[in-house]
C-alpha cells in the first residue's frame, strides 16, 4: 500500500476514534448548558441563544447532594490513592527486589483476587460490611476500593521497579545505604513519574466507581457518581442537571489527567546508566 494511503487510513481511524470518544462529552456539555424545555422539545432546540448556567446553579445548591457527593468522592479517592500508593509501592518494591521465598505465588494470589466479577462478591461483602458497621462510612468504602486498587498498583509498580537498574541500588548499598534508605533516597525519587501516574489512575478508579458505592452507602457517604445518578427519578429525568453534575464531577479527573500526561512524557531514568 502506498505511504499516503497508509497515512490516510491511520488518520481516518484516529479521527473516528476521537469523534466517538469526544461525542458524548460534547453532548454532555451542550446538554448541561440548555434548559430542560429545549431538550425535551422535538426536535431538540439547540439555538445557542438559549444557553444558560441555570442547571449549574441548581445542582450546586447544597440541598441537592452533589456538593456533598463531590466532597465524599474527593475524600475517598484521595485516601484510596494515597494509601494505595504508600502500601502498594512498598509491597511492589519488596516483591521486585527482595527475593522473598514464594513471592511469585504471592503475586499470583494478588492477581487472582482480581478475577472475580464485582457482582459475585457484592452480597457477601455487604454482609461483612454491615456486621462490622462499615456500611455508609468513608472508611468502609476506602477499604473496599483498596482491595481492588492495591493489586493493580502492586502489579504496575513491580514492573517499573524491576526496570530500575540494579547497579543503582548496588551503588547505594556500597555507599552505605540500608534497603529502606535505598528505597527512600534512590528508588522513590526516580520513580516519581510512574508513582504519580499510578496514583492518578487509582484516584480516577475510586472517583468513578459506582457499583460498590451504591451498595455500600446510604445517606452519609454518597459519592458524586451516586448523586449524579439520583437525577434520574421514577417520574422524570433531569437531563440538564444530571449532565451539569457530570461535567462538574469530571473537572478534577480531567485536570489530573492533563498533569499526568506531562509527567508520563518526561524521561526519568535517562542518564543513570551508560548503555
Amino acid at each position: 500500500m502506498p505511504r499516503y494511503l497508509t497515512r490516510f487510513f491511520i488518520r481516518f481511524g484516529l479521527a473516528t476514534f476521537t469523534l466517538l470518544s469526544l461525542g458524548p462529552v460534547i453532548w454532555s456539555v451542550v446538554t448541561s448548558l440548555l434548559p430542560l424545555s429545549a431538550l425535551t422539545s422535538r426536535p431538540p432546540d439547540l439555538n445557542p441563544l438559549n444557553i444558560t448556567l441555570e442547571n449549574y446553579s441548581l445542582v450546586l445548591d447544597s440541598s441537592r447532594g452533589l456538593f456533598s457527593g463531590l466532597i465524599n468522592s474527593f475524600i475517598i479517592a484521595t485516601f484510596t490513592s494515597a494509601v494505595g500508593l504508600v502500601v502498594g509501592s512498598m509491597a511492589a518494591y519488596a516483591l521486585a527486589r527482595l527475593n522473598l521465598p514464594g513471592s511469585n505465588k504471592l503475586l499470583l494470589m494478588i492477581l487472582a483476587t482480581q478475577m472475580f466479577p464485582g457482582i459475585v462478591i457484592a452480597i457477601p461483602l455487604f454482609l461483612v460490611m454491615s456486621r462490622t458497621h462499615l456500611v455508609d462510612t468513608h472508611f468502609g468504602l476506602i477499604a473496599v476500593y483498596l482491595s481492588f486498587i492495591l493489586p493493580i498498583v502492586i502489579w504496575i509498580l513491580k514492573g517499573f521497579f524491576e526496570s530500575v537498574p540494579m547497579e543503582l541500588e548496588r551503588a547505594a548499598a556500597v555507599d552505605g545505604a540500608s534497603p529502606i534508605q535505598t528505597f527512600r533516597y534512590i528508588v522513590l525519587p526516580i520513580s516519581l513519574p510512574p508513582l504519580f501516574a499510578t496514583g492518578v489512575f487509582a484516584f480516577i478508579e475510586a472517583w468513578n466507581e459506582f457499583f460498590f458505592a451504591i451498595i455500600l452507602t446510604r445517606i452519609n457517604v454518597k459519592t458524586a457518581s451516586i448523586a449524579i445518578a439520583e437525577f434520574s427519578g421514577q417520574y422524570q429525568t433531569l437531563y440538564g442537571q444530571m449532565l451539569a453534575s457530570a461535567v462538574l464531577a469530571s473537572v478534577p479527573v480531567v485536570a489530573l489527567a492533563i498533569i499526568f500526561r506531562r509527567f508520563i512524557l518526561e524521561g526519568f531514568v535517562e542518564g543513570a546508566i551508560k548503555a
Binding site: 551503588a171 548499598a173 556500597v174 555507599d175 525519587p189 531514568v269 542518564g271
Partner: protein
C-alpha cells in the same frame, strides 16, 4: 589502606560453578587486575569482595579480618561500576556527597570534601549538573569521585572503561593510574582488556572459567605465561603457537612442516609432546633462517606486523617502522631460540623455566 585475601572462594549459582576455589592475596596499596574473557567469573569475584554477592564457600579477609558476613559499607570498600550507576536525579555534587550525607556529616564538611574531590577530578564546573547533562568521560569521573570521597580501604573497579571510546579510554587509564599513585589505596580492577591490565597493574590474576590460571606481575604474565591459555590471551598480536615436533639433525631443532627452528643448544628434548609459542618481537625476517612467503602486511605506526606462511604454518613478525615487504614475496625467517616458550601439549602448562 588494607590487605585483601581470598581463601578457597567458590561461588555456585544453582548447579553452575561460576568461581572455583580461588586463592588470592592483595598486598597493601597494590593494584591488582582480574583479567579474563566474559563469563570467567571476574565480576562475580569482585561482587563477592564488595559484599554484593555472597560466597558459596571460602573466606574473604580484609586487613586480616574475616568479612564474609559484613555489608559492603562495613567492609569499607568503594566500587566504580561498569555503567557508572550515577543517581540520575542528583546533581554531580549530590552524587559524590551521597555517602557522607547518609553518614549525617555536617553540611559544610560535605561541601568542602566534595569540592576537593571535584577539583581533583576536574569536575568543579559541573557540580550542579545532572548526570544526563554530562559526557561519558565526565560521568565516569563522577563515578570515581563517588568512590574517592569515601576514602575507603579498598577500591573496586568493574570494567570502568568499557563504555568509553578508545581515545578517552587511554586517557582515563592514565588518570586512574595517577590516582592510584597519589592515594596508594589497595585496588582491585576487573577487565577483559589485556592491554589495560598490563598497563595498570602491579599484579594480574588471569582467570579462565572460574579458575585462576596465573597470578603474577605483568612482566611474568607476559614473558613467562604459566599456560597456553595465558600465553594466547596476553599480548598483541596474539602469540603464535606451533604443534610440531623435535628432530635431531646435528643439533636440536623443532620442525613445523618444512620449517625448522634451531632450539637453544643447552636444551634436551623433553619426553612429552610439546607445542611451542613465540611472540612477534622475537621473529626476524631477512637473509637467515627457513623459507617462507609474505602473506599479510599490517602497519600499526611504530611497527609493522608481517605475517609469513610456509606449507604447514605461519608466524607473525614485528618489524620496526614501515616495512617495504609485499605479499607473495619470498623471505627467510629466523626465530630467536632463547625466547621460545614450550608447552606440554597434553596439560597445556609451560615447560621451560
Amino acid at each position: 589502606m588494607a590487605t585483601l585475601e581470598l581463601v578457597n572462594i567458590t561461588k555456585k549459582f544453582g548447579d553452575f560453578t561460576a568461581v572455583e576455589n580461588i586463592n588470592l592475596r592483595v598486598e597493601e596499596g597494590e593494584f591488582v587486575t582480574l583479567l579474563g574473557p566474559s563469563g570467567c567469573g571476574k565480576s562475580t569475584i569482585l561482587n563477592m569482595i564488595a559484599g554484593l554477592e555472597e560466597v558459596t564457600s571460602g573466606e574473604i579477609y580484609i586487613n586480616g579480618k574475616q568479612v564474609n558476613r559484613l555489608s559492603p559499607f562495613e567492609r569499607d570498600v568503594a566500587m566504580v561500576f561498569q555503567n557508572y550507576a550515577l543517581y540520575p536525579h542528583m546533581t554531580v555534587e549530590e552524587n559524590i556527597g551521597f555517602s557522607l550525607q547518609l553518614r549525617k556529616r555536617p553540611k559544610n564538611e560535605i561541601q568542602a570534601k566534595v569540592r576537593k574531590v571535584a577539583a581533583m577530578l576536574e569536575l568543579e564546573r559541573f557540580q550542579h549538573r545532572l548526570p544526563r547533562e554530562l559526557s561519558g568521560g565526565q560521568q565516569q569521573r563522577v563515578a570515581i569521585g563517588r568512590a574517592v570521597i569515601r576514602e575507603p580501604s579498598i577500591f573496586l573497579f568493574d570494567e570502568p572503561f568499557s563504555n568509553l571510546d578508545a581515545a578517552l579510554r587511554i586517557k582515563t587509564r592514565g588518570e586512574i593510574k595517577e590516582l592510584h599513585q597519589r592515594l596508594g589505596v589497595t585496588s582491585v580492577f576487573v577487565t577483559h582488556d589485556q592491554e589495560e591490565a598490563l598497563s595498570l597493574s602491579d599484579r594480574i590474576a588471569v582467570l579462565r572459567m572460574g579458575q585462576l590460571e596465573q597470578y603474577g606481575s605483568p612482566e611474568e604474565i607476559y614473558s613467562k605465561p604459566a599456560t597456553k591459555y595465558v600465553a594466547r590471551f596476553i599480548g598483541t598480536p596474539q602469540m603464535d603457537m606451533f604443534a610440531g615436533e623435535f628432530v635431531n639433525d646435528g643439533g636440536l631443532y623443532y620442525q613445523v612442516g618444512s620449517a625448522k627452528v634451531a632450539v637453544s643448544d643447552t636444551l634436551q628434548a623433553p619426553g612429552v609432546s610439546v607445542d611451542i609459542g613465540v611472540r612477534a618481537e622475537f621473529v626476524t625476517l631477512g637473509a637467515k633462517g627457513f623459507d617462507a612467503t609474505v602473506r599479510l602486511v599490517q602497519p600499526v605506526g611504530p611497527f609493522t606486523y608481517v605475517t609469513v606462511a610456509w606449507d604447514d604454518g605461519s608466524v607473525t613478525a614485528r618489524v620496526n617502522g614501515v616495512s617495504r615487504l609485499k605479499p607473495k614475496e619470498n623471505i627467510k625467517v629466523e626465530i630467536n631460540p632463547k625466547e621460545l616458550l614450550f608447552f606440554d601439549r597434553a596439560t597445556e602448562k609451560r615447560l621451560n623455566p
